[in-house]
Amino acid sequence: MKAVVKLLNVTYKIQDGNEMKPILNNVSHLFPAENLSVISGPSGSGKTTLLYAISGLLDHLDNGSISVNDTNIYSLKEHQKDTFRLNNISMIFQSLNLFPFLNVQENICVPVYAKNKNVTAETKKKISYYLDKMGLGQIQKKALGVLSGGEQQRVAIIRAIIDEPALILCDEPTACLDRENSVIFLENIKTLITDTKLTAIIVSHDATVEQYADHLVELSDGKIL
C-alpha cells in the first residue's frame, strides 16, 4: 500500500517558562510515496518532534493537520489513533527497540500479536527470508543478549516491515551503529522500499543517511528550509 504523508501548516508548541515555544512552526510539506525521505537538521531543530507528529504520538497539534493517505490523524480519537498507527505505521527508534524478554522471532512478531493475529507458516517463511536477506542467518530462537547493536537494529527493521505497513518512521536509527552497520541498515531499507513499495521517513543528522535519501528535507528552528 502506498503512503502519502501531507503536512499542512503544522504548528506544535511546548511550555517554556511562562511562554509557549514553537517546536514546529507552520510546517507544510508532502512526503512522496515509495520513497526514502530523510529529515535532517541540527540538534533541537524539531526533527524528532516532526517524526512523532507524523506518527500521531503527539497528543495534539496547536495548528494545522497531518494526513497519511488522506486520513487526518489528529482528527481521530485517541483509541482510533492507536488503531491507525498499529495498522499503518511502524517505528524504529534510536536504540532499545526490542523487548529483552523475547527472542528474535518473538520480537519480530510483536506487531502480529498486537493485531491479534496468529503467526502463520507464511509469516515464519517471511521472517526466515528477511533474516537471510539482512545477513543475519537463521537466528529466530536466539536471545537478544547474543546480538550486537547492529544486528538488533536489523531485527528491528524486520519487525517494522513484517506486517507490511504503509509507512516506516525511523528516529536516528544509525546513531548507535558504526559506519559498516549503518550502510547495511540503509541498503536494507532501500531494498525493502523497492520490494514492498513502502514509504520510509528517517530522521537523522548522519551524512551517510542523507546520501541514501530519495527526498531530503532540512529542518531548522521548527521550519522547513
Binding site: 498499529l86 524478554f101 496468529n118 547474543v146
Partner: protein
Amino acid sequence: MNELYRALKLTGKGRRKALILAYILNIVIITFFLMVITGFKDTINESLSPNDYEQIVAILSSTIGISIVTIIFYQWIVITLFKSLYQSRQHFNTNIRLMGVKKIQLFSLYFKEFVSMQTVAIPFGVISGWMFYFLIAAAFNFQSKSVNVFSLWASPIIQFIIMFATIAITFVNLSKQDSLSRKIIRSNNTFTWSNGRIIKTIIGIVILIVTTYLVITIHGSQTFYLLLLCYFIVGTLLFDLIFFLFNRFGYLISILTHSGSLRLSLLLSNGKFSKTRAISYMIIFSVAISVGLQSLWLTLRQAAYDSANNNIYYSAVETTDNLMDISSIKDNNTVYGLYYMAPKLGSNRVRILGVDSGFIINKCETINIDKNLSDLTDQELKKDLDDPNWNGIIFPQSSIQPRNIGTEYKTKLNGIDVTFVIKGGNFPNNIGEFRCLVSRGYLEKVLGQTNKVNTAFHMGNTYKKAFQNSSIQTKMDVVKISHDKSVQSTDLIEVIMYIILICALVMLLNYIYLVSLQDKGDIARMRAFGMSAGKVNFVYLFHFIFIIFISYLIGILFAWILSLSGCNLVMNHIYLGSGIIISWNFVLLLFCVFSVLSIVSFVLFSYRANKKQYLQIIREQNNE
C-alpha cells in the same frame, strides 16, 4: 571520597527510600520472630510435664523454621531493590570507575550508605517490632513475657550481619558485569530447558513415581501420611515443568482464540521466568502454610464436634459435689455414676468416672476401644464394669502406649490412695476432656462407699433433676466444649501465618513495582506501536494473574496434603469421617486479595508509562 559519597546520595532517591523501607520491614520481622521464639523458650523452662514440653518444642521448631524461611525469602526483596538502586546509578558507577576509583572504594561508598540507612532502619525497626509484638500479644491474649533485653541487641546484630552479607554478595555480582555491555547483554531470565532444569525435572519425576508407588502400597499407616509430605519436594522440583505445561496450554488457547495479547503475556511470563520464580515459591509457601494450617484446625474442630455429637446419646449430664444414695433417686431413664477429679497428669485434669454396664447397655455413649492397644471386647468391658473387684482403668487412647497396658496407675481420690491397672484405651467422645472409665463397684469399694452416686446421665429429652445443688451440662454443651478445646494454643501460629501472607503480598507488590519501573520503556514502546492502554494492561496483568494462579494451585494442593497428613498424624482416622475441610471462601478471598492488589498496583505504578507520558519515556530512554 566524601564528595563522591554526597554525589552518590543524590541519585536514586526513590529507590533509596524503598530500600530503607525494606530494611525496616526486615528488622521488624526479625525482632517479632525473635520475641515469639524467646517467648516459647521461656515457656519451655517453666514447663512441668513431658507432654507440654513436646508440644511447645514442636511449636517452637515450626516457628523457627517458618521464621528462617520467611527471612530468607525476604532477602529477595532487599536484593532486587538494591540491584535496582545500583543499576539506576550505572552512569555514576561507570564514570567514577573510569576516573580511577577502585572497585573496593566504590564498595566503601555503598557500605557507607548502607550503614547510614541502618542507623535509621534499626532503631525504627526494633521499636516497631516491639510495638507490633505487644499489639499482637494484646489482640490475641497470649503471654507477652518474652519481652526481654535479648531481642533488643540480638535483632540489630542479626539484621546487620544478614543485610551486609546480602548487599556485599549482590554488589560483587553486579560489579562483575561490564557496564558497557550491559545494554546488549541483559541477564537472561527466559525459561529454557537447560541441562540443570532437565535434571531437576527428571529427579522430580523419579521422586513422584517412587512416592506414589510407596503411597499406594502402604496406604493407611502413619508412614503413608509422612510419605505424602514428599509431594512437597516433588511439587517444588516439578514447578518448572508445571509452569511450562500451563504456559503451553495458554499458548494453544491464544492460537484458538486469536488473542495476540494473551500470547504476548505468556511470552512475557516465559521471558521473566527466573525473576518470577522466587515470588511463585513465596506464594506457594504462604498459601500452603496459611490454608493448610487453617484446614488442619477446621478439620480437627469438626472432627471433635462430630465425635461428641455422634457418639453421645444422653440429653444432659448432671453432677453434684455431694454423694447421694442411689435408692432414693432411682429413675429408669437415668444412668448413674461416680465421678472424681484426680491429680493432674501433665497438664491434663484427670477425671475418673465409675459406671456399671448400664452405661453401655443404655447407650449413654459409644465406647470405642482402641484394638491396637488391647483386645478388650465390649462384652468383657460390660462384665468388668459390673465387677466390684475389677481394678482396671480405661484411659484416653492418645495418652497411653501398648507398653502401658497392664501397668499400675496410682492416684489419690477423695484423699484416699487408689491403684488401678491400665487395661486399655478408648477414643474419647469429648476431645476436651481427659476422662478415664472404671468400675463403679470397685470405686465404691476402695473409697468405702455403698450405693452412692454423684453423676446422672439423663437419657430422655425431658428429665427432672436427680440432685440438689447440681450443675447440668446438656449434650450440646459437651459438644461445644469438645469443639472449642480440640485445637488450643494456635493463636500465635495463626498470627505468624498472617505475617507470612503479608510477606508474600509485599514480595508480589515489590515485584510489580520493579516490573513497572524496569519495563516502563517496553510499556511505552508497546503504546507507541499502537497497542491500546487496555491491551498493554492485559499483557502485564495476565502475566501477574498467571503467576498467582499457578502458584496458588500448587499452594492449595500442598495445603491439602499438609492438612491431610497433619490431621491423620495428630488424630486417629476414626475421627475424620467428615474428611478434610478447606474453607473455600478463605481460599477465594485470598486469591482475590492477591489478584486485586496486583491489578490495582500495576495500573497505578505503570500509569505514567502506559497512559500519560509514554512518548516522554521513549525520548528519555533514547537520550540515555
